[in-house]
Structures are given as C-alpha cells and as structure tokens.
C-alpha cells in the first residue's frame, strides 16, 4: 500500500492549489467548448435570454405603471357636500378641522356661489342656474387625501368619519380610478411573478437539456475516467461550469435586450409625454437590477446543470 500512501501525502501537500488550478482549467475548458460551436451556443443563450427578459421587462412595466399612474402621483379626491344651513364661517372652520387630520393633504371650502361659477363654466350650462329663483347648489369642501399608502379600506374609513361631522350632508368619493389602478398593478405583478417562475423552470430545463447532450457526447470519456477512479463531483465539474457560463451569458444578453427595448420605449413614450406637456421620467433597469439578473441567470444555469448532470452521470457506469 505504500504507493497510494505516497500519492495521498503528495496530494495533501499541494491539494488546495491543485484543486484551484483544476477548477480554473475546467472553467476555461468549458468556455472553450462553448466557443467551439459559436452559433448553437449563441442560439441557446438567446432563447434563455428571451426567457429571462420577458418577466424582468414586465416587472419594469409594472413598476413604471404604479410610478406614473399609481397612488404615489395621483391623489384621491373626496367631496363633502354641506347642509344648506351651514354658514360660510362654519364651513371654513370645518375645512380647517379636516385639514388637521393626518390623512388629509388639503381641505378647501367651495362656497355655493363659487360652486355656481364653476358649474356655469361647463359647456352647455351657461345661464342655467341664473334662470332659477335661488342658487340650488350647496357649499362643499374638497379633500385631497394622502393616498401614497392608502388602501381602499382606509379610504372607506375616511369617508365614514367625514359623514359623521356636523353639517356634512353627503360624501362623494372618486374611488373607482384609484381602485382600478391598484387592481391592475396587483394583477400585473402577479402575472410577472407567475411568468418568472414558469420561465425560470424553462431556463433550467433548456440548460439541463444542453447539459444532457454534452454528457451524451462525452459518455465514453466519462466511463473511462470513472473506471480509473474519478468521483462524480470531478466528472460533474465541467458540466456545472458549462451551465454557469450558459446562464451568465444568457443574463448578459438579457440585460442587453432589456436596454435596447428600454431605449426604444423611452423614445416612443417621450414623444407622447411631450404632447401632454407632462414632466415625467421613466424608471429604467438600474445597476442593481442588472446585477440581480446576472446572479439569477448564473444560479439558474448552475441549478439546471446540477440537476441534469447528477441524473445523467449516475446512469453512466463502466461495464
């Protein structure tokens, strides 16, 4: 047994160095193998990149939607109609009382005559109220609610509190717009998550299939080195690197694809925004998002390769 004892002590001395060296050479070898078939490698990566780009773009769209249209930029409006016997000074007092509520951004008193003016400015209603014996419009208080973190339930609460105030006849709330937007955002978010899970599985399957083909094409070699004492971990290593490179390459392509479509989109949207004279900036794929994509792509590639390599290498045994 002396030879193997000798070999083991030799191995132990420079074991870690040799292990690192081996990792480096296997990593490079896997990259070279990919580069040997540039077209098929590229096509595989492109397929993976599209699968990664879809959910990440959808996520960006959702973030933009809630940024542009969501509660952060739009405020929830409420109108409190006052009873006819409320005087102007009582109404002013009520307004400043409402103003002190923490949920309220702004409370503005609109007197019956101001309401009449506003009403008459509308097309087709000119002179309509003047033809009546008295001004039928009640005074009202318009509230804008701090709705950044407001749920529909909280909005209902405000409504209930307001209607109990003395002098308030009725409350009208413009909730629909607010609710629709948040519902759409929630739906799209769920869609993006579902799509991400589905396509992540797809990425792992595609990588796994590529790894299976790579293992098949090297099956003789694998059997020979199993025969001379290679561990499964050793045999798996080049295929794990292959998966890692595929995933990383795909994620790089995905970042590139996202950036290209982002520029196209920004261009289209900016002309639209210009037309409305609005001052809006779009959220774009940032550095953190890019790094997250790269890390995600690499881990998916590695995971897909690991599953496939484990499965297929175990089934190859010398006869």
């Amino acid at each position: 047994m002396k030879p193997s004892v000798q070999a083991q002590s030799d191995t132990a001395q420079s074991g870690f160095m040799a292990w690192r060296q081996h990792h480096r050479s296997v990593a490079i070898e896997s990259l070279v193998r990919l580069a040997k078939h540039p077209l098929s490698s590229f096509v595989t990566m492109l397929v993976l990149a599209i699968a990664i780009t879809l959910p990440s773009s959808l996520n960006l769209v959702v973030r933009n939607l809630s940024h542009l249209l969501g509660p952060e930029s739009s405020t929830l409006q409420m109108s409190l109609y006052l009873s006819a016997n409320v005087t102007a000074s009582e109404a002013q007092q009520l307004a400043s009382q409402l103003q002190s509520w923490p949920e309220i951004n702004q409370a503005v008193y609109v007197s019956p005559s101001e309401a009449k003016q506003m009403f008459e400015q509308r097309e087709g209603f000119e002179g309509l109220i003047d033809s009546l014996p008295t001004n039928p419009l009640p005074g009202l208080i318009t509230l804008s609610v701090k709705s950044a973190t407001l749920s529909a339930e909280q909005a209902d609460n405000i409504e209930r509190k307001a209607i109990q105030l003395n002098g308030v006849a009725s409350v009208k709330m413009d909730l629909q717009w607010f609710q629709k937007i948040s519902a759409i955002v929630v739906l799209l978010n769920q869609l993006a998550t579902g799509l991400a899970i589905l396509l992540a599985t797809g990425v792992m399957l595609v990588v796994g299939n590529t790894i299976k083909l790579a293992i098949d094409s090297r099956r003789e070699e694998i059997i020979v080195i199993k025969l001379i004492g290679a561990t499964n971990a050793f045999i798996r290593r080049p295929f794990l690197y292959l998966g890692l490179w595929l995933g990383l390459g795909a994620a790089l392509l995905a970042v590139l694809l996202s950036k290209i479509s982002e520029y196209a989109l920004t261009y289209a949207v900016s002309s639209l925004i210009d037309a409305y004279g609005a001052n809006v900036t779009l959220l774009t794929l940032g550095l953190n998002d890019g790094l997250l994509l790269l890390a995600g792509g690499a881990s998916l590639g590695l995971a897909g390769a690991w599953l496939a390599a484990n499965h297929h290498i175990r089934s190859l045994e010398p006869q």
Partner: protein
C-alpha cells in the same frame, strides 16, 4: 493482497459467471488468470474493482472487505488499481500525454508533479518521444503501452490487465508481458487475465485456471523455477531513473 472468499457472481440474465471462487494473491506477487473465452476471467477482474458486485462471498483488498463499499468509496478503491484493457480505452481526442495524465488529474496532483510523473511513466514504456501525438497515430502495440503507462502513472499497488495482448502479434505480446514483469520486479502486485497459454508457459508465475466459472487450478507451470518477489515494495522505485 487480493483475496476472494467463496465468491459467486450471477448476472441479471441468470448467467452464473463465477461460482464459489476462493483464492488469494500476496502483495508483490504476479499471477495469471486463464481459461477459455466465457470462463469468467473478465468477471473476476471486474469484481475486484467493483464494476460488478458479487452475488455471494467476499472480496478483500489488503484485508478490507470491499464488496459492500458504497458508491462514494468506489473511486478511491479504483485508484489503488492500474488497469490495462484489451482495447486500451484511450481517449481519442487527447494527446498521449493527456491520456496518461488523467489518473493524476483525477487524484488532484499539482501540474508540475503531473508533468514529471507522466514523462517518467512514458519513459518506462519507451514512448517519451510520442507524448504529443494522438492515440490513433500510434500502432496497436504502442497504444497498449500508452495504456500501461496510464495504468502505472499513479504508482498503484496493483496492476490488473484483461487480455492485454489479445490484439497483438506474439513478438509484441512478449514485449508487453516483459513490461508487466518489470513492474512486478519492483514490487507491484500484478494480475493478468489471458487465454494465451503459450505466452504464460514461459513465465514462472502461478495461474488461476477457470472453467465455466469454477476455479479448477491455481498452481505454478510445471517448468517453473521460483521467482523471487520477496523484496519490500518501494513506491518510488519504478521511476527511480527519471526522478533523480
């Protein structure tokens, strides 16, 4: 030391390839396994390296029963053996050097040790000048010698060969056997399966004779003078000329 204790091997097909085979080979010994085609020679060698598992009985390598080894233990067991195959099993897309280096890379040797040991092994089989060639550019005898270099490069305790001369003419066969003898002379335990009786008649070693899976003899050839292999086994000896 290699020992079989009442080993029986039935393949899944129902074929009983070995029945109740018992023998023992001492460390430093050289022996042959003979018998007609289908007698069970390859099966016997495969059982030692756990390519197959015995249906009954035990296999001891250096007094350790290996037949119950787990999948994780198998690679380390196989690294104790240098294996030479009839069809040499070289990787056709790698140079002679890279083929011989495989066992060292698998065992995790540092690159500078790999180069030194590969050249020592190739020198031993007189193929140092062909290290950059691909296996298919070599003759059959040379390919078999590359196979031997790969088998011994890790300085294994045991050298196992399954019909290593099966495809070679008598002159080359004698050459190959002489190389095995050289390794045995420096203390490596050698076991060679062959049906070439003419070849082993000239060598003074024990042969285990199989017939239809049964061991029917394990004696020395009649003409033999005892071969001395009693000197202690020194791991570095095979490559002493090159190591200095």
């Amino acid at each position: 030391m290699i020992a079989f204790e009442q080993v029986t091997k039935c393949y899944a097909s129902g074929q009983e390839a070995l029945s109740e085979v018992s023998f023992s080979i001492k460390t430093g010994e050289m022996a042959f396994v003979t018998g007609h085609s289908g007698a069970g020679k390859s099966t016997l060698l495969k059982l030692m390296m756990l390519i197959e598992r015995p249906t009954k009985g035990h296999i001891l390598i250096n007094d350790v029963a290996v037949d119950g080894f787990s999948h994780r233990q198998i690679p380390l067991l196989r690294r104790k053996f240098g294996i030479v195959h009839q069809n040499h099993q070289l990787l056709s897309d790698r140079s002679v050097f890279d083929n011989v280096a495989l066992p060292l890379i698998i065992a995790g040797f540092a690159p500078r040790d790999v180069g030194r040991r590969v050249r020592a092994a190739l020198d031993k089989v007189n193929l140092l000048s062909k290290e950059k060639q691909l296996p298919e550019m070599l003759s059959g005898g040379e390919q078999q010698r590359v196979g031997i270099a790969r088998a011994v490069v890790n300085k294994p305790a045991f050298l196992i060969a399954d019909e290593p001369t099966g495809n070679l003419d008598p002159e080359l066969s004698t050459q190959i056997m002489q190389i095995f003898q050289d390794f045995n002379d420096v203390g490596v335990t050698v076991l060679v399966a062959t049906h070439d009786l003419a070849l082993l008649a000239r060598m003074p070693h024990r042969s285990l004779t199989l017939r239809e899976g049964k061991l029917i003899g394990s004696g020395l050839p009649s003409s033999s003078m005892h071969h001395s292999s009693a000197q202690p086994h020194d791991a570095d000896q095979p490559f002493v000329q090159v190591d200095i």
